[in-house]
């Protein structure tokens, strides 16, 4: 090979103005999240944040890796149960409780992932659904979950022994921090060298194998991380509402996360959070009226799938990219 340095132009970087626009949008969002509890009911905001994190965790798997899990409620609800039990019965602090919840969800994710990733496409989805139904019955029968009653009156506790989380606004900032950490983890993964390989697997699995990648290892890693993050969302939710119940591990909960991610935009960083905001808001405001919530959500979902295939965020991206 010759050493002549013929200059080959590399790929162009994204425009500085587009970067600046992103930074401004990010700053506005950060400020909005910080002042939000002064305007809106903190518990409502915390619910949005928990579901936004849950949907984002699912999106890491579905949107970036191309694997549809129909059983993510197992990790969300599992995290909630583990945390609720540890905080209430074992009297550990909120942070320790959450860490145990995340670890438990990761172990469940690893166990279910090992079995599910051997299947492809719809068989993968069916396997996750079947295993999560199995997990549902385990949680129903387990001695520590109190069956239909769930674990109630979970104390929020004090953070580092000084910050009292019973106050809603204080709790809100704790949840916001957890959410930020979770989102940072997702962002870090999808914009990393590892994330590039994961996207390649989503794009064309056979080709990724023929480049020498052990695709099952990548899939299992992402599955486990996604489960852990779903667990993080569930654990936090258990502290916010001070309860962990069978609803959290039900298949409807898995479906809700898929719906949020799809509605907001798969494979986008902010999409699932937008979807979660829309759906939680509708559930909250429609619950007080006589309108059938599920029907409205169903209609909104069908319209969004028909009109914008890449979700709400996909539409914005298209407009912002247009010259």
């Amino acid at each position: 090979m010759s050493n002549t340095t013929t200059h080959i132009p590399g790929p162009t970087q994204s425009l500085p103005s587009a970067r600046a626009l992103k930074l401004v949008a990010f700053a506005v969002l950060a400020v909005a999240l910080l002042i939000a509890p002064a305007v809106l009911y903190p518990v409502f905001l915390m619910k949005i944040l928990c579901f936004a994190l849950f949907a984002s965790a699912l999106n890491l798997l579905l949107g970036y890796t191309g694997l549809l899990s129909f059983g993510h409620a197992t990790f969300f609800g599992g995290g909630a149960y583990f945390t609720a039990y540890c905080v209430k019965a074992l009297e550990v602090g909120p942070l320790t409780g959450i860490l145990i919840g995340v670890a438990g969800a990761a172990v469940l994710g690893l166990a279910i992932g090992v079995i599910a990733i051997r299947r492809q496409g719809i068989y993968f989805a069916m396997t996750t659904l079947a295993l999560s139904q199995l997990a549902y019955f385990c949680f129903l029968r387990a001695p520590f979950t109190n069956a239909e009653d769930g674990i109630q009156n979970v104390p929020r506790g004090t953070l580092f022994g000084v910050i009292d989380l019973t106050d809603h606004v204080t709790m809100y900032f704790f949840v916001l921090t957890v959410f930020a950490i979770g989102m940072f983890a997702i962002w870090r993964i999808v914009t990393s060298p590892f994330g590039e390989v994961v996207k390649a697997i989503r794009e064309n699995e056979q080709r990724a194998i023929s480049l020498g990648y052990n695709v099952n290892r990548y899939k299992l890693s992402v599955f486990t991380v996604s489960a852990a993050l779903a667990g993080l969302a569930g654990s936090t939710k258990a502290l916010v509402f001070q309860i962990a119940t069978l609803t959290d591990v039900s298949w409807q909960m898995s479906g809700e996360a898929i719906l949020m991610a799809l509605l907001g935009g798969l494979g986008t960083l902010t999409g699932p959070s937008v979807g979660a905001t829309v759906i939680v808001t509708m559930q909250n405001y429609l619950a007080a009226t006589s309108v059938p919530v599920n029907v409205v959500i169903g209609v909104v979902f069908v319209i969004s799938v028909l009109l914008f295939r890449k979700g709400i965020v996909g539409v914005f991206q298209r407009f912002s990219k247009a010259p």
Binding site: I8, T12, T191, S192, P193, E196, Q206, I209, S210, L211
Partner: protein, 262 residues
């Protein structure tokens, strides 16, 4: 005299790089590949020809371990790979392309090649770093794209390329792995006539220090490029030898009845 440097993992010898014995593959009761015995010498370009449905693509899938053989053995550079996982075979230096062009459609042309370079350079598991870690791969990726003549398309989405360009991108991606053995499944099918000469020259160039197996229907290309030709029909080898040896073989003529080559 200066010796050619020994490539890692390969003993220098005249032994065939690929040695296949009694290879069979059946789908249900259907025998797609039947009792194939063949050796391929290193450093040459070998053609695999035969009518549609002869089992050529299946044969490639068996070699690259995308399919498990029903029976028989495959050895690559003296190592038995009959039970080796497909990504391991790639790491041993044998890389396949697909009959249906295989690119990562939503990634750019540049990213397609870069992701192929990532594993070889050990930058494939860092989930805690930014993409800046991959900056060092830029020059090599651009060099490879330039080599196949699509450096100017580096920023395009792979999905937006023409069919011929996708195939050249696939070759660039394959080259990124620096394979010892390349399996090309109909690399020129569906290409515009003016691209065929270009790709043909490219294959000749990249095969210089490697072994190439290619499925090709265009017998002029085969005659021009390939050192040997193996003819497959109904899953069986019906002839093998140099192109001039097999061109008048009656079995070959029978296998190719209905095609326009004379």
């Amino acid at each position: 005299m200066i010796q050619e440097p020994v490539k890692e993992g390969y003993a220098v010898s005249d032994a065939p790089i690929l040695s296949i014995r009694g290879l069979c593959k059946s789908f249900g009761g259907f025998h797609a590949v039947k009792d194939v015995d063949v050796d391929f010498q290193r450093g040459q370009i070998h053609a695999l020809i035969g009518p549609n449905g002869a089992g050529k693509s299946t044969f490639f899938s068996l070699l690259s371990k995308f399919h498990e053989p029903t029976s028989g053995t495959i050895s690559l550079a003296g190592q038995d790979i009959t039970r080796t996982r497909p990504e391991k075979v790639v790491r041993m230096g044998m890389v396949r392309s697909f009959q249906i062009s295989a690119v990562f459609p939503e990634m750019t042309v540049f990213e397609n090649v870069r992701v192929a370079l990532q594993r070889r350079t050990g930058r494939d598991i860092q989930f805690w770093c930014g993409l800046g870690l991959l900056d060092g791969l830029r020059d090599e990726a651009m060099y490879l794209l330039d080599r196949v003549g699509i450096a100017d398309l580096a920023d395009k989405r792979a999905a937006d390329l023409s069919y011929g360009r996708k195939r050249t991108l696939e070759i660039a991606t394959t080259l990124a792995l620096d394979p010892k053995v390349i399996l090309l499944d109909e690399p020129m099918a569906g290409m515009a006539v003016e691209d065929i000469g270009m790709v043909s020259a490219l294959i000749k160039e990249i095969s210089h220090d490697r072994t190439t197996l290619m499925v090709e229907h265009n017998l002029n290309v085969v005659e021009d490029l390939c050192d040997t030709a193996t003819v497959l029909a109904r899953g069986e080898i019906v002839a093998k030898g140099t192109f001039s040896e097999i061109r008048n073989d009656s079995e070959v003529r029978r296998a190719y009845i209905g095609t326009d080559y004379d």
